[in-house]
Symmetry: C2
Subunit: 579 residues, 2 copies
């Protein structure tokens, strides 16, 4: 009973052994992460089209709920760039940014996404996430990074523009170029340049100046806070907001409010597909971060329980004024590097953010949107990595096609079309490959009992025996292929008396393929040729035994290809072959 409960509440597991040492490590990590999260949360809310406080609210309840239900000890849950972009794209289709309806729709999206994740978790369907292949995810994240960077261009220029695809964004910015505010451009450009420098050049400089590794690290993480402080002060001192620089403005001083997601059938129907998409993308991203970090400490995470943890986090976001969240890469890595030992670090971060929400929000009144945009641009450009194109091109054109389609369609048709096309193309190309399987004619490798392709190895063969190794499971998509192939091969070689199909690579024979095998057997019987199988695996054999096929088969089923060979080729030939 307790063990069962522990499965659903991992907190019961690590909570028992929690000690002072873990507490102090978790506290330090929480302070560092909190400092990093304040500007990041505001910025991602801006990206999602929501008021800045939504980003902070979305980091409080979800972190606590994940700490209770999640299995990763280092994962930090909250708003992330890609999910914020997906939220903007989905909610933008049902409401105008800045309206109350928009915020409610974002809550609905978080609710649906959370409910779907919990459902998948309870049904143990985490494997569904595997349909999103690594290359497709990599391509999608790269394209999203570009889209996000360009979506921030308007804040850096001070113009109003919109669009969910690259051409739309560029066109819209181009049309509004007359609105460009030069002071905003200066703030944006200098913040961006500063943050790039912090990311690339600050740490080595600090180390050269004699700072400890830990100090250099903390100061680097505080870079965005410095940019926020300096630009906010500048706006306040010089009254730049009166000169057209857009600022964050009033942010309510409050703990996360209790909110209700809108659940009208109409809204639910419009947001259901985007919610499923956000869930799966968020889950895949989160699990890969969690697995990477867990592997470093020989810990394990349970993907099905992760679904429940992330689902609970999203449900939490839906009822506390947030929007869809997931485990973020950068915040989790920072959390891990800062020494977080248990999910309690997350809970302490939540407390830090709650304090910020109550006490610090007046301080960001004069914070320019351009600074937030700069933090986003610098953060997401590290996501952009085109090397996946080169890597897949070199390895497999099918993988390359899926990645290239994902990138191009995400940029030009939007995130939803892009990722759906990536998954669809991956599956279709896989099915296409299996529809024309590789079939090798094989012979005996001299001196062994091993059989290989006659075109790749020098092997022994016999003109009366045709041995074919079928390199694919036999199922409806390729059932007829084998039928045609055996027919063609047999009509070529007139000396053939026996055909052996080596089934070492046949992992399944479905009903359509069974019918094809029956047809092959019947045709070969009519031609007076024996049909034999070898190396049929246990699960396939179990299934064939439940049918009449093995009785109809005019030949035999051999344990190994070598047994079949010995039964058909005269012993003198075998002696020769073995020499």
């Amino acid at each position: 009973m307790l063990n069962h409960l522990r499965g659903y509440f991992p907190i019961l597991d690590w909570g028992r052994s929690y000690d002072r040492n873990a507490f102090s490590n978790d506290m330090i990590a929480a302070v560092i992460v909190t400092i990093m999260l304040i500007p990041q949360s505001l910025a991602y809310a801006l990206l999602a089209g929501l008021p800045p406080e939504a980003g902070i609210y979305a980091s409080i309840a979800p972190i606590i709920l994940y700490a209770i239900f999640g299995t990763s000890r280092a994962l930090a849950v909250g708003p992330v760039a890609v999910v914020s972009l997906l939220t903007a794209s989905a909610v933008g289709q049902v409401a105008e940014a800045g309206t109350a309806g928009y915020a409610v729709a974002a809550l609905t999206l978080a609710f649906l996404s959370g409910a779907f994740l919990v459902l998948l978790g309870v049904l143990r369907l985490g494997f569904l996430a595997n349909f999103l292949s690594h290359p497709v995810i990599a391509g999608f994240i790269t394209a999203s990074g570009i889209l996000i960077a360009f979506s921030q261009l308007k804040h850096l220029l001070g113009v109003s523009a919109q669009g969910h695809t690259l051409p739309e964004l560029l066109l819209s910015i181009f049309e509004h170029l007359d609105q460009v505010n030069i002071i905003t451009v200066i703030i944006g450009a200098s913040a961006t340049a500063f943050l790039f420098w912090v990311r690339k050049g600050l740490k080595p400089t600090l180390r050269r100046l004699g700072a400890s590794a830990r100090l250099a690290d903390v100061l680097t993480k505080a870079g965005p806070v410095a940019a926020v402080a300096v630009t906010t002060m500048s706006v306040w001192l010089f009254g730049l907001n009166d000169k057209g620089v857009k600022i964050v403005g009033d942010v309510p001083q409050s703990l996360p409010p209790l909110t209700m997601p809108g659940l009208s059938p109409d809204l639910v129907q419009q947001l259901l597909v985007p919610a499923i998409l956000i869930s799966i993308i968020g889950f895949v991203e989160s699990v890969s971060v969690a697995q990477t970090l867990a592997a470093k400490k020989r810990q394990r995470i349970d993907p099905d329980q992760e679904l429940i943890g992330l689902g609970a986090a999203n449900l939490g976001a839906a009822f506390t004024g947030g929007y869809p969240v997931t485990g973020g890469f950068s915040r989790s890595v920072v959390n891990y590097d800062a020494g977080a030992e248990t999910p309690a670090a997350g809970a302490f971060t939540a407390i830090g953010l709650a304090i910020a929400a109550v006490a610090l929000t007046p301080l960001v009144y004069f914070l320019p949107n351009a600074t937030l945009a700069a933090t986003i641009v610098v953060a997401v450009l590290s996501l952009v990595d085109f090397s996946i194109l080169r890597k897949t091109w070199e390895y497999s054109k099918a993988d390359f096609a899926a990645v290239a389609a994902t990138i191009v369609l995400t940029l030009t048709m939007g995130v939803e079309v892009g990722v759906a096309a990536g998954v669809g193309i991956s599956i279709l190309l896989h099915l296409y490959k299996t529809s024309r399987p590789h079939v090798a004619e094989i012979g005996l490798v001299p001196g062994t009992q091993h059989f290989r392709n006659i075109h790749r190895h020098s092997v022994e063969t016999d003109p009366t025996v045709l041995s074919l190794r079928v390199d694919e499971s036999l199922y409806f998509v390729n059932a007829r292929f084998l039928e045609d192939l055996v027919q063609a091969r047999v009509s070529e070689g007139c000396a053939i008396k026996n055909v052996i199909l080596m089934f070492s690579a046949v992992n399944e024979v479905d009903f359509s393929a069974l019918e094809s095998l029956e047809a092959i057997n019947q045709r070969l019987t009519e031609l007076g040729i024996g049909l034999h199988l070898s190396e049929v695996k246990g699960p396939v054999m179990d299934r064939l035994k439940s049918t009449h096929f093995l009785h109809q088969l005019n030949g035999r089923v051999f344990l190994s290809q070598y047994d079949a060979w010995c039964a058909m080729v005269p012993p003198t030939d075998i002696d020769n072959a073995a020499e």
Copy 2:
């Protein structure tokens, strides 16, 4: 050049050797088929919701075009039951039955279907039809047969009812029960009973009475004509059409007219998906008939050229007042049994039908619709075969699920949903199965060099070596599965020094799986465990060689599992194992 032309015009092939003997055989077959086709063509037009002459027109130009472009020597092309039903369902959504718009939409459907088939043929994409598995097709045809039979019930009862699903049809008939015409019921019931008897009982009776097999056969085929003649005469003699019996009425006395399919973007958009569906179902049905008949005479058909042949036939139907056609099972079998030797038999049938269209159409004025409905019901009930449910249930629950879903959804949601669900479920279940592959721990079968599952065979193993045979191609859907599995197995057996992955059943390693292999290698390296591969196939090895993986691999790649075993297990153990 000529050979190339012959590929696209198979007529150049058989036409050269056409002789008097073939001519007379073809003529006899044509007469028998023509007699059978006249009532059938009228009936299927009724089923498709079109005027009766459309059925005859659809049998003339398409037959001739198929004779020129098709590769099967016995296939008879024309309206068939399932495609007529699909036509009624598709066209019924854009126009009212009986209107001019309805007939034009049917032409458009034939045009789109023909164009799509030709396109697939020119692109050599015939393999796409394989996505429709045999069990799904069988389930779909059974469900369609039931739907068709029930759709004819209104004609047998003399009521007006409509609907494209079983519940709709039954409800609609029930609502109109007050319209039942008792004379129509008598005609319909007796025609149905007579035709059933002709099909089951006439031939044995005739043979007992001393008729030759050939004569008995021809008389049996003429059964529908007799039913048509008797009921038409009855209506005419007793003036039954004035007593509420619905009749065929005026049919224009004309050769097929030249018609233009409607090609407005709106219409094309609405009919495109149904046209693709009709093309693929028609193609699959046609090819399986053609292959069955070709195999009996050791002839071959070329599926890609069949696409062009059927496409040309449909384009012909579109411009000559027809509607979508395909190779029909019953008409092709009759053609074959009647001794047709070449596609010329089809051309002669077309001439026979053209004569009928000009000369015989006034004779069917008093033909009751109930008789046509009876011929349809008797014909389609032979399509209904639920044994596919039992067969797939016994063999594979996945195949059963696809068939059952196809049948249930076709009956309750209509033909398009049914067949799409069948294909979708087949693919998803296949992907699901490959997402959790069977992995066997293997050992040496004593006295051989062959390795099998330790749980199924008594084999030799060594505690320091973990040999796993992965029974599936490694690709994104199952990439992480192997990673988790190896991790779990290694943490169980602490004596393990070497892991050998036997790749005999791994037919592909995609980019995601390569990343997983790299991760496995890295983790095992950290644990001081060697990772080795064995029996990697040529195509997989070629691909792995293009990467750094083989350099990173901490162990070796062995040609055979036995080689790997010999390299890792001390020779004395091998001697013991071999005894």
